[in-house]
């Protein structure tokens, strides 16, 4: 525009907000649920039960970190659940073929990384939409798991492997320890390295990042590889907990992981969100599951109730944002 300027457009800053307003709404939902379950079931507030929650939430946290990384790039990964399944299968198969536990874990994780590399390649070099590429991988990984197991669970009781799922470090269950390490690693990568900056920049403005000289294709590719590897780690831990690789164990996990990410405040649009929020999302789902068990709601009813709570939490979030109560 090259017309007369009649006024300068200086938009003022927002007023600093009270710190409680910065708390994501999902934190309130978690708090409310804990109070509810604490009152409804006396056993809820116990150290044992809290450790139980972290144990039950550990694989979900790992999966949700993977989902968050991908969604932050404005992508989606529908194959996470199937990759979890497949990695458990390849890991246990490796053990059955006499590989050491570290080697078997590596086989599992590399399986997932390979799946991520394929989807990442299809998305970046093949220019497929992430939804399509990962939908395809979802089918492929699930199918391979069925083929490799001949449609039945395969077992391993190597003690060091079982320890990964059932052992504990002090009072902390091993899966919890691993999940916390994964979260810390994810946090460092996302907020302390250039890779993390590129993930956030790609989500914020991919065209702009590319024009800034960021090799967006490469970093997106790496994001899917990382997500695949993390989902695979989740699969290995799951197999270790169950002492078996079940060919359909991961069905639907991608949706829990995505739900936890969204509940944690990460948006599909521009990948605006935080990894800390995702932990709250995981906590919400885990507390809800655990609480329903503690107060004796049957497993049959749980998925429907969880679905309802997810919708309610998102509506709560949207309403607060519309009213301007939170940012």
């Amino acid at each position: 525009m090259s017309a007369t300027v009649i006024g300068q457009d200086i938009r003022g800053g927002k007023k600093p907000q009270a710190s409680w307003k910065k708390m994501p709404p999902v934190a309130w939902v978690v708090l409310a649920m804990m109070i509810f379950f604490g009152v409804a079931a006396p056993g809820f507030f116990s150290a044992g039960n809290f450790l139980n929650i972290t144990l039950q939430g550990s694989v979900l946290l790992i999966m949700a970190v993977a989902a968050t990384l991908v969604i932050l790039t404005e992508g989606i990964d529908l194959s996470l659940g199937s990759v979890l399944t497949l990695a458990g299968v390849t890991g246990v198969l490796a053990l059955q073929h006499g590989l050491s536990v570290p080697a078997a874990v590596l086989v599992g994780v590399l399986t997932g990384a390979a799946c991520g590399a394929v989807t990442g390649f299809l998305i970046t070099a093949g220019k497929l939409p992430p939804f399509i590429a990962t939908l395809g991988m979802m089918g492929i990984a699930a199918g391979l798991a069925l083929v490799l197991t001949r449609q039945g669970a395969i077992y391993s009781d190597v003690p060091a492997f079982i320890f990964l799922g059932g052992g504990s470090l002090g009072i902390l269950p091993m899966p919890t320890v691993i999940a916390v390490l994964v979260f810390l690693l994810g946090w460092i990568v996302l907020y302390q390295t250039d890779f993390g900056r590129y993930i956030i920049a790609i989500g914020g403005n991919e065209a702009g990042a590319r024009l800034s000289g960021v090799n967006t294709a490469w970093w997106k590719f790496l994001t899917y590889v990382a997500a695949g590897a993390l989902a695979a780690l989740g699969g290995v831990i799951m197999a270790a907990r169950l002492r078996a690789a079940d060919p359909i164990v991961g069905n639907g996990w991608e949706f829990d992981a995505i739900a936890a990410t969204i509940l944690g405040g990460t948006s599909f649009e521009k990948g605006n969100g935080t990894l800390g929020g995702t932990v709250l999302g995981v906590l919400l789902i885990s507390v809800l599951r655990n609480g329903l068990n503690v107060i004796g709601v049957g497993a049959m009813w749980q998925p429907a109730l969880i679905g309802l709570v997810i919708i309610a939490a998102i509506i709560f979030d949207v309403l607060l944002k519309q009213r301007g109560v939170i940012q």
């Binding site: 300027v5 009649i6 390295t193 250039d194 900056r197 590129y198 914020g204 403005n205 024009l211 605006n272």
Partner: protein, 499 residues
Amino acid sequence: MAEQPLLQATKVTKTFPGVLALDGVDFDLSPGEVHVLLGENGAGKSTLMKVLAGAYQPDAGAISLNGHPVRLASPRQAQKHGVGIIYQEFNLVPYMNVAQNIFLGRFPHRFGLLDQARMHSESRKLLDGLNMDIDSRAKVVSLGVAQQQMVEVAKALSVDSRILIMDEPTAALTDREIEQLFAAIHRLKQRGIGIIYISHRLQEVHQIGDRVTVLRDGKYIGTRQVGQVTVDELIAMMVGRTITHMFPRDYQPRGAEAVRVEGLASGSRLRGVSLALHSGEIVGLAGLVGAGRTELARAIYGADPYETGRVTVFGRPVKAASPDKMVQLGMGLLPEDRKTQGLAMILSLSENIVLASLRRLFPRRFVDAGKEREVVAEYIRDLRIATPSPKRLVQFLSGGTQQKVVLAKWLCTHSKIFIFDEPTRGIDVGAKAEIHGFMNELVKQGAAVLMISSDLPEILGMSDRIYVMRQGLIVAEVDREQATQERIVAYAMGHEVER
């Protein structure tokens, strides 16, 4: 005028935040007339057109149709009053057929079902009236540009438009298609339809126009009978924008060649472009919107592929160009559209500034927050970036401040070659002078700057040399001393210059 005008607009004023787009503009249109609307980029043609079509609401002024004052509150209302508009970007649904497109939103019904027969017979009638041989059952996607345009015209006529606004209708047409279009326009004139014809092509004024009105900087400059005005007179009316608040340039002898471009070609947008850019100079790239300037910049920068041609940076030919590679070679692009290409609006000022320099600042891949703060603080100070905090999201900053953030991003990479695409568009006067000051400082320190601008005073005031582009070609190279607004516009619009 003996006849009642079809349309009469008086003292139409329209402002946008920070910009006075139309400043008391008068315009009228008679039945059976083609009234050409002429002006440089940003003169206010599009705004006036959108006001007349009901897409924008004027802040002041009156519009009357057939002598009756009207308020065109929406495009739909303008349509009801018989004002049809054909935008450069057609509003057709590609996978629907011609008849369905013509009647979109007003499908005729019979017994509660679509009356296909009537749709097709009426479409036929409309297209025959334009003397167009187009099958009403053909899908729009299978038609050529000129035919699609005629579907748009038929669509406008199907609601009994008495006034047709055409926005650069020949921009995408071949010579043969233009002939067809002009023939169709003549038929419309005979039916008493008035046509407002917006064009960048000066020769078309005399080919198709009856009267011509010139706008400049949102102001009404004048209306002439086409037979009584020459192209040179029209150019003189269009330019003559006063040069104010221009930053004084320090000129110095130019240094080594930084960029050489040879025969760059890509489809019809770039048709063999060659240029050279040296350290210590600002080279202006002038031309009309759509001349291929942004395409040229993006091709040089490796953002878009090109079919043939060669780019050499500091004497080394670039193979398999990509923005990633060009940044490593010391080039930076400040794109035309800050909001969609220059910045990540939801990220902070700090994150945006260091984004292109992470490799240089943190070669070990770990982002050191302390160092980041230091570096960013330096640019906030040097460029006088007005922000309460480096953590402020750029979406909350003003346009001028945002542009400074983009500039800081490229200064941070220690770039040696800068491509500025419309560096001061939509920026207030103060920030504009500051940006010009920084550009001057850059070339003094030996940087090479290629500056695309549609702002003629900016081109004339800032450039050492000026290339003028038209239809994918560089049509002229003009030295600072010989450059005048008239000359540049004449080259840009394809008018012969004798000098």
